[in-house]
């Protein structure tokens, strides 16, 4: 258990750095790559709920920490995404790249729309980046997903799941 927690922590730190790096590089052209979402989904796909849900929640908090409105919104979105991953795990093979990309595309779309709607409704703030940056961000995230799933599986190796 301790080993898994240590590995999870290191993976989390790596993901935050990767997320920051993509934000720094792609932010200039208005693209938003949600590496944290891909990481949270990968952890949920490989580990049991007692690890997956807290990880998704903390990943969401990480994004909330850097925002200035509606603290807890990303934590909620990520928890809902984790619920979706655990609901889909028997129907989708999360070890194969194509289901990983499809699920991440769908979850990315859901997360982005959910955030936009809640920000507008609860904080009166419109964060719509425009259609192309929005679509490109979600698609790029889906393309990147297999690499993140692979890295998470590789580090966790046998994991805890039976």
């Amino acid at each position: 258990m301790m080993t898994t927690l240590m590995k999870l922590f290191l993976l989390f730190v790596g993901s935050t750095v990767l997320h920051w790096a993509f934000t720094a590089v792609l932010g200039g052209v208005g693209l938003s790559l949600n590496v944290m979402l891909a990481f949270a989904c990968a952890v949920c796909a490989h580990l049991k709920p007692q690890y997956g849900y807290p990880t998704a929640f903390v990943c969401g908090l990480f994004l909330d920490f850097f925002g200035i409105k509606l603290f807890g919104l990303h934590a909620l979105t990520f928890t809902l995404c984790a619920i979706a991953v655990y609901s889909l795990e028997k129907r989708l093979d999360f070890d194969a790249p194509v289901p990983q990309m499809i699920s991440l595309w769908g979850l990315g779309l859901f997360a982005a729309l959910f955030d936009l709607v809640l920000l507008k409704v609860c904080a009166g703030f419109s964060a719509w980046p425009g259609f192309w940056p929005f679509a490109a961000g979600i698609t790029l995230n889906a393309v990147l997903a297999p690499a993140i799933f692979w890295a998470v599986r590789r580090v966790l190796t046998r994991g805890i799941k039976a």
Partner: protein
């Protein structure tokens, strides 16, 4: 025989966790969203800063260092040429500085004679943008915090074509980082004055649309293209910082008691890399 009940117990425990955990985290998220952003959430954020900030700071520093290496090599190659140019510039600036000091002293004498408050020279720190959420251009995180003297409600100024322009205001501070609310955000407001007509109004952010300059007198005429600067009546911003340019003047409806103009901000949120954060005057809270 004894393994079966134990296995069943483990499965039922797993199922229970599977049902309870999402409910717990959804409720926790909703609670965080419902809490006021001030005291309880600020405490959570202060705690989270210990987990989330170190690696981002380290990465930012590493990137700065890596960028610095190529810059240093280039600088070394150009040192001689640059040194000569800087010497010339320094001589010119010395001369200018002497003139400025003289004019400043004269200005202070005249201010004193007229019984006006003495003017203040801006003091501040240069900071770099450490993080920004691309979908939310309303704020940026800068790489300096309270350790460097940055305080909440401090003005953030950017440079555009060598001229200082208002970029935003510091809204949250930590030891090593701070959050700057940019001028386009709906929560941003500042007292401002138009350059030619001298009319004063309240500038508020309007998201992607140009800023609104509210409460302009009904019979005033604020022309398109007029520059808008921060007003001396602002409690946060020092007077005379360029905010933007009027792009639409005098929105009016029949029941209006004041005019509203639209001002395009001079600071481009997407290209802000460095910000000058004004430090408080000695003995005061605001710049």
């Amino acid at each position: 025989m004894q393994h079966k009940p134990q296995h069943k117990k483990q499965v039922s425990q797993g199922n229970r966790r599977r049902k309870i955990l999402p409910i717990v985290f959804v409720l926790l998220s909703l609670l965080l969203m419902a809490l006021p952003l001030e005291s309880p959430v600020a405490s959570v954020k202060a705690f989270l800063a210990y987990i989330f900030i170190p690696q981002i700071r380290a990465s930012h520093a590493a990137l700065e260092y890596a960028q610095g290496v190529s810059g240093t090599v280039r600088e070394l190659l150009n040192t001689h040429w640059e040194n000569e140019r800087l010497q010339e510039e320094m001589d010119r600036l010395r001369l200018e500085n002497a003139q400025v000091r003289e004019v400043f002293a004269e200005n202070e004498r005249l201010r004193a004679a007229l019984g006006m408050k003495p003017s203040h020279i801006w003091r501040g720190v240069w900071t770099k943008t450490a993080y920004r959420e691309p979908t939310q251009w309303n704020s940026v995180i800068i790489d300096k915090g309270t350790q460097d003297g940055v305080q909440e409600r401090a003005a953030a100024v950017a440079l555009k074509d060598g001229e200082p322009v208002l970029a935003g205001v510091v809204v949250e501070t930590d030891d090593y980082i701070a959050k700057v609310l940019l001028v386009r955000d709906e929560d941003f407001s500042a007292a401002a004055v138009s350059s030619s007509s001298g009319k004063e109004g309240l500038l508020v952010g309007a998201g992607a649309a140009p800023l609104k300059m509210l409460y302009l007198p009904l019979l005033s005429s604020v022309e398109r293209g007029e520059k808008v600067y921060t007003s001396a009546s602002s409690s946060i911003f020092p007077a005379g910082i360029l905010v933007g340019e009027v792009v639409q003047s005098g929105e009016e409806n029949s029941s209006a008691t004041a005019l509203t103009a639209r001002v395009e901000p001079a600071a481009d949120a997407s290209s802000i890399r460095e910000l000058f954060i004004l430090l408080p005057k000695s003995g005061g809270n605001t710049p």
